[in-house]
Amino acid sequence: MEKLRILAESAKYDVSCSSSGTVRKGKAGMVGSTVGGVGICHSFADDGRCISLLKVMLTNYCMYDCAYCINRRTNDIQRATLSVSELEEITMEFYRRNYIEGLFLSSGVVRNPDYTMERLTAIVRDLRTVHRFNGYIHLKTIPGASQELLQEAGRYADRMSINIEIPNEESLKALAPEKDHKSIFLPMSQIQQGVLENKEDRKKYRYAPRFVPAGQSTQMIVGATKESDLDILKMSNAMYQQPSMRRVYYSGYVSVNTYDPRLPVLKQPPLVRENRLYQADWLMRFYHFKVDEIVDDKHAHLDLDVDPKLGWALRHPEFFPVDINKASYEEILRVPGIGVKSAILIVNSRRFNRITSYHLKKMGVVMKKAKYFITCGELTSNFSQPIIGINELRPERLRPLLLSKAQQKKAGEEQQLTLNFEE
């Protein structure tokens, strides 16, 4: 029990948790299934993050010395190693009680990458063949592991991931002297190749075993180095160009090794910035935005006060107002306050009758934001004053109206001069 605690605490800084991407029906004689689309989160920890997979390390002994990592060689923390049978039993018993959706297995590097990867592979092979486990398995790839091992592991795992951590190679080298970008991108491209080959195979032979059916994911640390949001988003955009890359995660840096001079000391993880990055990520994946629309050289950092979509809208008043009853789906998606769900509802409903602001409100559109950016039948009658949109107000006067109360107060305080009464 103590071991599980230590190893879970070591693994928890990895943010990836999703169990999506594979649809696999239950099979007779095997335990478990995976659901497609959205995975199932089985619980939510006190920090609000979902617990979907049993996220655990095989061991937290590590021969590497990465400055941002809690398990670095030079850290004086409790070390433990789970035996293979222990890990397998815990996984199976948890799964049968509907605690978890599957296993997320990672490990510190012991002896050499190949040795570690081999042990990870052995566990997933055992789970699939001996325990007949049919649930979700997410396996971390060890940087520098050989291709044969990746090939074998990929046949058993649903998703494999390897973390970029730092988008800039020089910063990575400064913080993690044993790693470089080659050791990360090489396995990534090998897995991708495996996925593509497997796709071809499955076209010819329907029952060819699947290879990493849920694709890959990766993670970048935010706020540990000087990278701007532009660098980070450029990198994730490049990642999404790869056909097998499904998700890029952003992890606000938690100061775990405060003594290291190479790292900033943060009182709090940069949660707002992390949130804005995820919002930008969503814009790229679901809202048909391009990366250079969200950030460019002039705006290398995302605005912390307003979300990236609203930020884009304020920079592009010429795009608005959008006519809800005529505009295309893509245009409606760009309106702040309208999300994917309400955009679909709008496009479906307007075949029957004209949409008015009353309908929009009922459908769940955030009219507080959206009303400045749209026209629809009658906007005037419901709001007592004549319609004032972004073009009448000008962006710079609209912006303060859209900030939340707390942000307004903060901005007010910054403008006010403070007198220093000390001496």
Binding site: M1, L4, R5, I6, A8, E9, K12, Y13, K25, G26, A28, G29, M30, V31, G32, S33, V35, I40, C41, H42, S43, F44, A45, D46, D47, G48, R49, C50, I51, L54, K55, V56, I90, E93, F94, R96, R97, N98, Y99, G252, V254, S255, Q268, P269, L271, L345, I346, N348, S349, R350, R351, F352, N353, I355, T356, H359, K362, M363
Partner: protein
């Protein structure tokens, strides 16, 4: 004002639709049997549930609605919300009156939107059941879970659990509606207990009595609680998010929260 009363079954509601067209009456107020009549109401028409008439109405619906639209009706009915009766009735009447295909997609109609939102709430809760059901293992190898969902969602989730745990025996029991589903290794059976007081588990906390709990179940429950505590990052505490994703009303049956 025309008032109909019906027996709060889906068949009854469909029969009411049939009657309203048969009697050429529009703007019907639909009430459940025994509900307080509104002021100045005429003598209400009592709908006698007739499965043949209901079947005819359903056949008609199949012509105009897509599969999703039909499912929307059956799923939203599981919500057991009293306020759903009128909008659902209006929605079905509208389908036949307007005679357009795919009316279920018109979210600008308030009746459609209400049915739709009801359906959404039910689907949301069935997902939550899939997430938050916690099994305990009994000595004879049966896995037991007790729940009390707001809506009657058990029929929606049995397929999922049958598919997933097809080699173990399990029982999911709804403590609020006093019935459950038992999987015997082959099929899922609807079960009720004659004497609920004598069941070997606690209906208010879902805990199995210690003498029938399998021997190492307690160990795994403790392991799970340990894991649950360990995975949290202290620097990022966010109880608000936790509560919005995992509302407190579900906690009483969850191993990690009721220990």
């Amino acid at each position: 004002m025309t008032v109909y009363t019906f027996d709060t079954t889906l068949d009854g509601l469909l029969t009411a639709v049939f009657d309203s067209f048969f009697r050429k009456q529009q703007d019907v107020t639909l009430l459940a049997d025994g509900e307080q009549l509104p002021l100045f109401a005429d003598e209400p028409h009592v709908v006698h549930t007739d499965s043949e008439k209901a079947e005819r109405v359903w056949k008609g619906l199949e012509k105009y609605l897509s599969k999703d639209g039909l499912r929307m009706i059956t799923v939203s009915w599981l919500s057991e919300e009293r306020t759903l009766n009128q909008p659902l009735f209006n929605f079905i009447c509208k389908v036949f009156r307007l005679k357009v295909n795919g009316l279920e997609r018109n979210a600008s109609d308030s009746d459609v939107l209400e049915v739709r939102n009801s359906c959404r709430r039910v689907l949301h809760e069935q997902l939550r059941m899939k997430q938050f059901i916690r099994f305990q293992k009994a000595k004879d190898g049966t896995y037991l879970a007790v729940v009390s969902p707001d809506h009657n969602v058990l029929p929606l989730i049995t397929d999922h659990f049958q598919d997933r745990f097809n080699d173990q025996l399990w029982l999911i029991y709804d403590a609020k509606r006093h019935y459950g589903y038992y999987y015997d290794g082959k099929t899922v059976i609807h079960v009720t207990f004659e004497d609920e007081a004598s069941v070997p588990f606690d209906l208010s906390s879902g805990k199995m009595d210690a003498d029938i709990l399998s021997e190492n179940d307690q160990l795994f429950q403790d392991l799970w609680r340990t894991y649950f505590k360990a995975i949290c990052i202290k620097e990022r505490m966010n109880p608000k998010k936790q509560l919005s994703d995992m509302p407190r009303r579900y906690w009483k049956y969850m191993t990690e929260k009721n220990g």
